[in-house]
Amino acid sequence: MKSEFTLKLERCKGCGICVSFCPKQVLALDTLGKVYVANHENCIACGQCELRCPDYAIFMDKIKKEASK
């Protein structure tokens, strides 16, 4: 995994902005309309999701190579 997600679901309003701008279809909305990480292995840690989240509900941290070894 290249990234680690912190989701604050109490803030997520399910607008779908993070889902739409993710270039690798990593994220999706669940039945209740909240974000979840559907395909973590595809994440390239670009941070587009966090960048445009209007609700500060998703945080993405790159996992440093040394740490992931």
Partner: protein, 278 residues
Amino acid sequence: MIERSYEKFFRQNRLPHLWCPGCGNGIVMKAIVQAIEKNPNFTQDNTVIVSGIGCSSRASGYMDFDTLHTAHGRAIPFATGVKLANPDLNVVVITGDGDCTAIGGNHFIHGCRRNVDLTVILFNNNIYGMTGGQASPTTPLGKKATTAPYGSVDRPFDACKLAEAAGATYVARSTAFHVQHLVKTIEDGLKNRGFSFIEALVQCPTAYGRRNKMGEPAKMMAWMRDNAVMKTAWDKLPDDKKIGDKFPIGLFYQAEAEPYDAAYSHVQELAGGGVKNA
């Protein structure tokens, strides 16, 4: 628990904010605190956030500074009072298109004219959101609103051109899509000593996008991505290419001019009252 250092500028107990799902206001509010974080002269104790009335103006309540949520259209006069009464304070104004260019239009142009040292960030969603979608002075021609059910025939303002003509010394535009650019634009606006005006285009999926069949919030942001043209490129664009929904973003104008508080300190010196000794 905060995840990012800029979050310390939010009143965590006030979040989540009241804005609709997909509203761009949250993106711009974050950009403002990120820009503030990059400026060591702006602290939580010496910065005042002043807002008017409307969706965008609710931002002040979420920001952990001295904050002033004024009356509709009146943010700039209040902010002028704060700045002139205590020039050591940094004053940031958050306003909307109705607040700033309609009911507060006169205050806006005169704030620019005096070059009061304020950083004014206009959240432009092209509509009156809080009251449910009435046409604003920035609603584009032909777009629908509850008060323009057949499409707006009122010619819209270009708030940046207005600010420049009125005397603002920093004028720029960005969008909720171009987040890094937006942060940089606000950061530069904060640095300018004088009236800085930043127009941030934001999507209003609820009251504007839906009525105008603009799709999901992300689609409205994709529209910003596809139609915004950086100023440098825009200037090279032939007129026949400046068509459709295309619009320029970036820094439009910057000038050196004495801010009002400095100008008035000369008056105090002339009058023999010195500076800030009251």
